[in-house]
């Protein structure tokens, strides 16, 4: 059964101390996500979606609660182990692309492999990932020479180059016009269809959410699940 669930989160709480006031960003969120599922996380600003994604992506630890990512209990891990988990199991796609400027598309995609240690054929794998997102002819362009859509494709290639268990996209089309945004979403969904990659998309856009299999609605740090 554990094989089927990529994400098992139970009663996740995240409390921030803002001066005197305690802010509860997450007030006990439980969610399970199956391997190969496409899930959207929606909710108004301040509902805790970003906090949830940070925790699910192992960028941050919950204040309390249990979280098992791909069979590993995360809440007990140290900084370095978290870094390893992020490297091997999670691929991030950001709203603002977050590519290294002045660096070629290839070097950007290669970056997670470099942090992974002794990975053979780094260049070949990075190139293959770029080809798979349709950027075979842009490999040695610097990221500043690429359009927004192309930059996001590089980011997608970077997210999947290490064969992660899960790809997390935070408003992946937020900085793109609707036509290009549609292409990027298509690309992400195609990855899921063709490779069975688990996909979590944080979005405001109901049109995007509608194309996923399941929507997790967050409100005030709590889940209101419906389908």
């Amino acid at each position: 059964m554990a094989k089927d669930w990529v994400i098992q989160a139970k009663d996740l709480m995240k409390v921030y101390q803002m001066g005197e006031v305690e802010v509860r960003a997450l007030a006990g969120v439980s969610c399970d996500i199956k391997r190969g599922e496409v899930v959207a996380i929606m909710g108004p600003s301040g509902s805790g979606k970003s906090t949830l994604m940070n925790i699910l992506g192992c960028l941050d630890l919950p204040s309390s609660g249990k979280y098992i990512l791909d069979g590993e209990a995360v809440e007990t891990l140290g900084d370095d182990q978290l870094a390893d988990i992020r490297n091997r199991k999670v691929g991030f796609i950001f709203q603002s692309f977050n590519l290294l400027s002045r660096t070629t598309a290839l070097a950007n995609v290669e970056l997670p492999l470099r942090y992974a240690g002794n990975v053979p054929n780094k260049k070949e794998r990075a190139r293959a990932a770029l080809v798979s997102v349709g950027l075979g002819d842009r490999i040695s362009h610097r990221s500043t020479e690429l359009s927004g859509g192309e930059q996001q494709r590089v980011a997608i290639a970077r997210a999947l180059v290490n064969n992660p268990a899960i790809i997390m996209a935070d408003e992946p089309t937020g900085n793109l016009d609707s036509k290009v945004g549609k292409e990027i979403l298509e690309l992400l969904l195609a990855l899921n269809r063709d490779n069975g990659t688990t996909l979590i998309i944080v979005t405001h856009d109901p049109g995007i959410a509608a194309q996923t299999q399941r929507i997790i609605h967050l409100r005030d740090g709590l889940v209101e699940e419906k389908k």
């Binding site: 940070n54 870094a83 992020r86 991030f92 977050n98 002045r102 997670p112 942090y115 970077r158």
Partner: protein
């Protein structure tokens, strides 16, 4: 992430901000260049001085009145009698010859030209002790000495200045402090020494100097004694003999000696100590500029960390460990200081070369020597500066929380 990869990446980053990297490197270049140049100049000075001292012969002793280490009341002056006693082959078998010396300054004139020179009154033995050779004429003779003769041997610098030539000067008359002297010989050039240029001196018979030019309180008083020892090996033995004789004559068999015996080795060790202190002093001052350069690196690295907060967050999101970020920034700061160090070595070498040229042009040949040690020291020190001043900014970068860093605008 391996180190080779980190270095390439660091160089690319530094290259991306050429002006800033260049200015930071310049700080280190100046620091290392100054250290190298100063050490080279110090080393060069040391070589020149020790070379000059070595040139005076390994089998010489110098005897002065007074004690330079311990306080002594009313030191008795050295006298001709002391010289004669030391020269006694039965009392001091290891002493080959003794030359008493009195020294002063005087104005020499000839044909309307005047120059200020050092005047040495001594005996004929002095010339062989000093390894002097002659361009023409003769050294002072025993007859000159005994006859209170107005004879003088002049240095080549004096001949140049007074006569404009070095040949055919023998037989001419010069005046020392107004008194006429006949030139009997011209010395060959020996160049500068620790005690000033030996080319600008005149040497007259001891007796003449004593009675007519350089007045001392007692008639037979001398300033110092040069003692030639039979061989370099016998120097310690001869030193003891000389001391023994002088203690007896000065009636200080117990208690503090009222005279000092120096050998060439003593001079060498003193000169080495002095120039060593001088070198450390110069190097220390230059080191301050290296320190300032290091602070420049720290400053720039801190700015760089702040500027690249998002990049650091991204790298962490992609799986960079603390150590990876730490190494990345440390390599960058070390690269800055290492490149600066290498250029600085060239600059220091160039400065040393220029100083050497200036010294040569002003007539005091002097070779700034860049030792392998200085280069190693400067390279290691500059790399250490880069590491040391890079640690704080790198730590700051490595300690950033990924979520916070990614959110940074």
């Amino acid at each position: 992430m391996n180190i080779g990869q980190s270095i390439i990446e660091a160089l690319e980053t530094l290259n991306g901000n050429k002006l800033r990297s260049g200015l930071t490197i310049l700080g280190i270049v100046i620091g290392v260049g100054a250290v190298i140049a100063m050490l080279a100049i110090g080393q060069g000075a040391q070589d020149t001085i020790t070379g000059a001292i070595s040139g005076i012969g390994t089998n010489l002793l110098f005897v002065f009145s007074g004690n330079h280490i311990q306080e002594v009341r009313n030191p008795k002056p050295l006298t001709l009698g002391d010289a004669a006693a030391i020269a006694d082959p039965f009392a001091a078998p290891d002493v080959l010859a003794v030359a008493p010396i009195i020294e002063g300054r005087g104005d020499v004139t000839a044909g309307g030209e005047t120059m200020s020179v050092s005047v040495t009154g001594t005996t004929p033995q002095y010339f062989s002790m000093q390894n002097y050779s002659l361009l023409e004429g003769d050294f002072l003779s025993q007859e000159n000495l005994q006859g209170n003769a107005s004879a003088v041997v002049i240095g080549p610098g004096v001949a140049d200045k007074l006569f404009g030539r070095r040949n055919g000067v023998v037989g001419e008359t010069i005046r020392i402090n107004g008194q006429p002297f006949r030139v009997v010989g011209i010395l060959e050039s020996k160049g500068g020494s620790a005690f000033g240029s030996q080319d600008n001196q005149v040497i007259i018979p001891f007796t003449t100097a004593q009675t007519r030019l350089i007045h001392r309180s007692a008639l037979n008083e001398v300033d110092q004694l040069y003692v030639q020892v039979v061989s370099a090996k016998a120097v310690p033995l001869a030193t003891d003999e000389v001391k023994q004789i002088l203690r007896q004559r000065h009636r200080t068999p117990v208690g503090v000696d009222d005279f000092t015996v120096f050998s060439q080795a003593d001079f060498l060790s003193i000169a080495t100590t002095v120039t060593g202190v001088f070198t450390i002093f110069l190097g220390g001052i230059a080191g301050i500029s290296l320190l300032v350069g290091g602070i420049g690196i720290m400053n720039i690295m801190l700015v760089s960390v702040t500027e690249r907060t998002r990049e650091i967050g991204l790298r962490k999101a992609l799986g960079a460990r603390k150590r990876d970020i730490l190494i990345q920034f440390l390599v960058e700061s070390s690269m800055l200081s290492l490149i600066g160090g290498m250029i600085g070595i060239l600059l220091g070498w160039f400065l040393g070369f220029i100083v050497g040229r200036i010294a040569a042009a002003s007539g005091n040949p002097f070779n700034p020597a860049i030792s392998m040690n200085a280069i190693l020291l400067a390279t290691l020190f500059s790399a250490a500066v880069g590491l040391f001043f890079g640690i704080y900014p790198a730590n700051r970068a490595a300690g950033l929380e990924p979520v916070e860093a990614l959110r940074y605008e």
